[in-house]
């Protein structure tokens, strides 16, 4: 399916050795759910949502940025961060660095998270978007560091943070460094909260494991795309462990909404407007009073005391 999405988008993050990748416009794209065929140009215009059944196809980071932010506003940061391979990991004769390099050539990113600044419906944001094609958007050191820098950029620039997450879980090749990124990224969000800046988390298909159990579910508003499969444990693991067949619709965005785990399910075409509206609502929050007397003033005269 990914092969069908090779058109170079407007804000493509570039990678070394990246040459022309233009694609003929007459390529057919088949919906994986209902087999509906559409021209690649039409698919792009439909934001890769199937006009017949509404299936939301997975997007690359570049396509996601393209469909979410105001045209021409995305500026990428920290694209130069790459893997260091602390475990000197080799499995099946393939070294981690080689595997990552090959993923990089395929996706034109250096790791599974693309970060930068942009505006969404005129609201400036610090943005972090996963690239699922890069090793299943598993969270390793580069991912964690880039996300924390995006959070710090939000704090420094008084910007809202928008994260778009789709992930298979941990980066096995970095073992405990991968697990610890859950702690690192989530801890950074505490500072964003102290600065009274909003974190809006968009969960997209599929989102599992460490990402679901860390920064992506600690947000002021959690939004998901229709039909996205989201959970902590993967469906196959659950079936194996519990020896139960999973009920229809289990772990879908709609299921999570029903169980009170997310705020909204929003179709792709409406995302910029809805996220822009939320950012506008949250944007009026003033910067909190500084450290020592904050607790006292906060409880005494909140509104007055917080204005510097």
């Amino acid at each position: 399916m990914r092969e069908l999405f090779r058109r170079q988008p407007k804000f493509s993050p570039t990678a070394p050795g990246d040459e022309t990748r233009s694609i003929p416009d007459d390529l057919w794209i088949k919906c994986p759910k209902c087999n509906e065929l559409q021209y690649s140009k039409d698919a792009e215009r439909n934001l890769y949502v199937c006009p017949r059944c509404g299936h939301h196809a997975r997007l690359s980071a570049a396509q996601r940025i393209d469909t979410l932010v105001d045209e021409g506003t995305f500026i990428e940061y920290d694209a130069g961060l790459t893997q260091s391979d602390p475990l000197e990991f080799v499995a099946n004769g393939e070294a981690y660095r080689a595997k990552a390099a090959s993923a990089g050539r395929k996706t034109h990113t250096n790791d599974a998270l693309v970060c930068g600044t942009a505006s969404i419906c005129g609201q400036p944001v610090s943005l972090a978007v996963t690239e699922f094609g890069f090793m299943g958007a598993s969270m390793g050191s580069v991912y964690g560091e880039k996300l924390v820098r995006a959070i710090e950029r939000a704090i420094e620039g008084r910007l809202g943070l928008v994260t778009v997450s789709s992930s298979g879980g941990a980066r096995m090749h970095e073992s405990m460094f991968s697990l610890m990124q859950m702690a690192k990224t989530t801890a950074a969000l505490a500072h964003l909260g102290d600065a009274r800046l909003p974190h809006l988390s968009l969960l997209t298909d599929p989102c599992f494991g460490g990402v679901t159990a860390s920064y992506a579910t600690v947000a002021d508003v959690i939004v998901a795309e229709p039909g996205a499969i989201i959970g902590f444990a993967g469906p196959r693991v659950i079936e194996q462990v519990t020896r139960q067949k999973l009920p229809e619709g289990f772990q879908t965005a709609e299921f999570l909404l029903e169980h009170g785990m997310i705020d909204l399910v929003v179709p792709r075409a409406q995302l910029p407007e809805r996220i822009g509206t939320l950012l506008r609502h949250f944007a009026v929050q003033p910067e909190p009073a500084k450290s020592d007397d904050a607790d006292i003033t906060r409880s005494a005269e909140p509104a007055e005391a917080l204005h510097d």
Partner: protein, 301 residues
């Protein structure tokens, strides 16, 4: 004596049913312990226990994963795999610790967070994540000790602390060796090889700067439970005193900032120093600096 063991040997020791579990540590180290129950939302999880008691002269809040010693106990304890209500009980007790300014001691020993249907319905991911952010910012000291199996996010959820200690035969892993072997070779029987390449032993994690101290097991813990527990208690007390000293001299803000700096610094990457703008223009020349984890403290005296 246990120094020559390979990673898989240590996995076996970490999982040994006779190995002291959280309640064994609590019974021996925490006087007048009162177990507190329930998350006030849904239920009481038996795989993650918590309570309040006296640890060597000070009141502490204690949290721990609890495995059973036999099958019947393990069914009651869900094999030490907490459900969301376990993590939410932990969060409630962390808030209580902050309210009464009490240190938090945690004992880590779980194969994983529970992967069942109910846990998914009740937001397992969110329950873990809320603990991570709460513990990262909590304004009381915390010492986490991995006493057996440190199983992925299920372990991490009560391990965010000022110090992470590991028993010599404890392990701490991003995924179980069996799961890793299944992913890498589609064969869970390759778990011993996976255990080796994942670098999950206490010595590995100390080397990576993630664990602050390895508590020696000259004899495996299940063969000398009481001596092992006392040795762990001594290490916990020493680190707790050290952390309390930081608060006394530099204040709680410094402790919280130091804790954040510790986690902020974990990870290894290469920074080629380029910022790529939307039109593909590369600014800044690559400098290729490599970041390695640097710890604020070695954990020893």
């Amino acid at each position: 004596m246990t120094e020559q063991l390979n990673a898989w040997d240590r996995v076996q020791l970490a999982r040994n049913a006779a190995r002291p579990h959280a309640l064994d540590y609590i019974n021996e180290l925490v006087k007048d312990f009162v177990e507190l129950h329930g998350d006030r939302l849904f239920g009481d999880d038996h795989a993650l226990i918590g309570g309040i008691g006296d640890f060597r002269g000070r009141t502490v809040v204690v949290l721990g994963h609890q495995k059973g010693a036999n099958t019947r106990e393990n069914i009651d304890r869900n094999f030490g795999m907490p459900r969301p209500e376990g993590y939410r009980k932990a969060l409630r007790l962390i808030r209580q610790a902050e309210k009464f300014n009490l240190p938090v001691l945690t004992f880590i020993d779980t194969p994983a967070a529970d992967p069942g249907l109910g846990s998914e319905e009740r937001g397992q991911g969110n329950a873990i994540a809320e603990n991570l952010i709460a513990m990262a910012a909590m304004r009381v000291p915390a010492i986490a000790t991995v006493v057996g199996e440190g199983g992925s996010g299920g372990a991490l959820a009560i391990s965010i602390a000022d110090r992470i200690l590991m028993l010599e035969n404890a392990i701490y892993a991003v995924a179980s060796p069996e799961a890793c072997a299944t992913i890498l070779w589609k064969d869970a029987a390759q778990a011993p090889a996976a255990a080796e390449i994942l670098r999950i032993t206490a010595h590995d994690l100390h080397g990576f700067g993630i664990a602050d101290e390895v508590i020696p097991e000259p004899v495996a813990a299940h063969l000398q439970p009481s001596a092992t527990i006392q040795r762990a208690g001594d290490a916990i007390e020493r680190h707790l005193r050290d952390v309390e000293q930081t608060i006394a001299t530099m204040g709680i803000d410094t402790l919280v900032a130091t804790r954040y700096a510790k986690y902020r610094g974990i990870g290894r990457w290469v920074d080629n120093g380029e910022t790529i703008l939307r039109n593909g223009t590369v600014t800044n020349a690559p400098n290729g600096t490599e970041h390695v984890t640097s710890m604020q403290h070695s954990g020893s005296r």
